[in-house]
Amino acid sequence: MDKLLTVTALRRVVQAAFFMFFVYGGYVFSTYYTTDKLTRALPALSCAFDEKGGDYCALIALQHQTHHRLSSLVKDSENAMVKMIPTAVTIGTVVVLVALLGKAFCGWGCPLGFFQELTSLIAQKLKFRQIESLTPSVVSKLRPIKWVIFLLFVLIFPFLTGLGFLSEELGSPYCLICPSRIVTTLATGDASQAYISTATPLYFALSLIADLMFGLMVAFALFVRQPFCRICPILALQSSFKFLSLPRLVKNGSSSCDSCGQCAKACPMDIREISKPQEKQTNITHTDCTMCARCVEFCPHNNVLSFKYGPFYMFKSSKDYFKKRVKIDKWWKGS
């Protein structure tokens, strides 16, 4: 029983609950209709193509608004305020949600993140040899991709499409390549999103990218931790407002930290920066951090790493917890 009392175990329960709500919540908490979805601006990849879902991602709303509303401001500035209200509401909702839960939406709430972690857990049980961490050069090459996807696929392409410079296929291009669209719809028994479109060459290309990326993501999740999260544009969106976030990862200025690197090794996103000692208490919430808390769990020193919510400490690293956590990890991996 004691084995279950860890932050990771709690996180799995929360992830499962969020998965049920985001993917099937329309059955119980809301309805089929858009107006009944909870926020319609989640900073997590819960897909609007899943009609049974309880809520959906802010990226679809942002693409849609950039495509239809913001681009129309350039052509016709009449009723500018009215045209900007939906975007302001979406961004305002994202800001509030990021302020309240921050990057925990990724590590504790995102259905696609949970799917990848589940795949990884199954692979561990099937004795797939895990690649514990990616090399620093691979990590540094991967990091800018999320910004490129966010800027091009969520903002620039939809905006230029709205202005008429690009064809309509690029009105909501991120949704057309997002693996969460395929995962969440398949989870409800709807296979219609796993398609190849022959409507136009561009649709063909986008559907090809989506399906290839989904297949790659499933394969990678068997041996690399959180493969898609590393390039997810939601991280970029959240990072834009992370300075407002109440939950944060904090490193205390302490001589106890000997840069042992246990925290960086535990991090599924390979954020090696967290292992650097700090002179004073510092917010070390990195752009790529998903707030999974593994770094705090695997820190072998008392009070070096901690999770804070506003001024309150939620969880601090400790020697005793570290020992327990390592023991559980060994038990799970069967080593």
């Binding site: 089929y32 209709y33 008429g164 219609s192 022959t198 399906d211 290839l212 297949g215 068997l222």
Partner: protein, 275 residues
């Protein structure tokens, strides 16, 4: 013998046409033929262009309806002005509007309902409230109210005085010529798979021609015959025409294999480095 066979074939059709005689029903239809006006595109809807206000007419009666009203997405009710037998879809809010027409003649109370999607100010009132509220005494209620696509199954509930009406025949008909009769179950429900009865799809040029379907039902209560129709547009399902799921799953599998190849290569490289 031939005559006998013909009578076997045509008698039920004759009975059906009597039961669902056109005279007993009124229904809404788009003013301009949906083959010309009501199209969707495989490359998305064209934005930036100002959409013309959709116009509708009422078929099945020469009389002016005793009542022609529209329920707004806010659930408020307003009367619809009819000009030369045509009315325009109201605007102002994003969401669904419900047009309701009623005609009473010769002890028959006819009603027609049509849900119309509008663009405008967002309001936070559930469409479920609009579909669930009683708009006429006898009504076919969509559950839920989606964008109808061919080859997909949809549920409707037949209600009389807001209560489900069981074991009642409902005629389903489309502009493209599909026709069938369904009977409501204990809960007043029927399930219909929209037929893929489109032809000459020209999706590459952005002109997928929508079609119209309508559901008709009638019931006798207290010496009065009540009839109702629900009409709507439905579109070709991309999966029927330009999207292939088989190809999609094949590509996913190729991606998966590619990932596994990278996995094997990475392990081999690691082993080389260690060895």
């Amino acid at each position: 013998m031939q005559q006998f066979l013909l009578s076997i074939i045509f008698l039920p059709l004759l009975l059906l046409s009597t039961v669902f005689g056109d005279d007993d029903f009124i229904r809404f239809a788009p003013k301009i033929s949906c083959h010309e006006d009501n199209s969707t595109s495989a490359t998305g809807h064209e934005h930036g262009k100002k959409r013309e206000t959709p116009k509708f007419t009422i078929l099945g009666t020469d009389m002016l309806p005793q009542s022609l009203e529209c329920y707004l997405p806010t659930l408020e009710k307003q009367s619809l002005p009819l000009k030369d037998g045509v009315f325009s879809q109201p605007a102002g809010y994003s969401g669904f509007y419900a047009a309701v027409a009623m005609v009473s003649e010769n002890n028959i109370s006819k009603s027609a309902v049509r849900y119309m999607r509008g663009m405008g100010r967002n309001i936070n009132i559930s469409t479920a409230k609009l579909t669930d509220m009683q708009k006429t005494k006898f009504e076919i209620v969509p559950q839920p109210l989606p964008r109808y696509l061919s080859s997909k199954k949809y549920t409707f509930v037949l209600k009389f005085d807001s209560l489900p009406l069981a074991h009642t025949d409902v005629l389903f008909e489309t502009e493209n010529g599909s026709k069938s009769t369904l009977t409501t179950n204990e809960g007043g429900k029927i399930e219909i798979t929209m037929p893929n009865d489109f032809s000459n799809i020209d999706f590459k040029n952005g002109k997928n021609k929508n079609s119209e379907f309508w559901l008709c039902a009638s019931v006798d209560k207290g010496g009065v015959k009540y009839t109702t129709t629900l009409s709507s547009a439905y579109s070709p399902n991309p999966s029927d025409w330009w999207q292939s799921k088989n190809l999609g799953f094949a590509v996913i599998f190729v991606g998966f294999l590619g990932g596994m190849l990278i996995y094997r290569k990475t392990l081999a490289k690691k082993a080389d480095n260690n060895g």
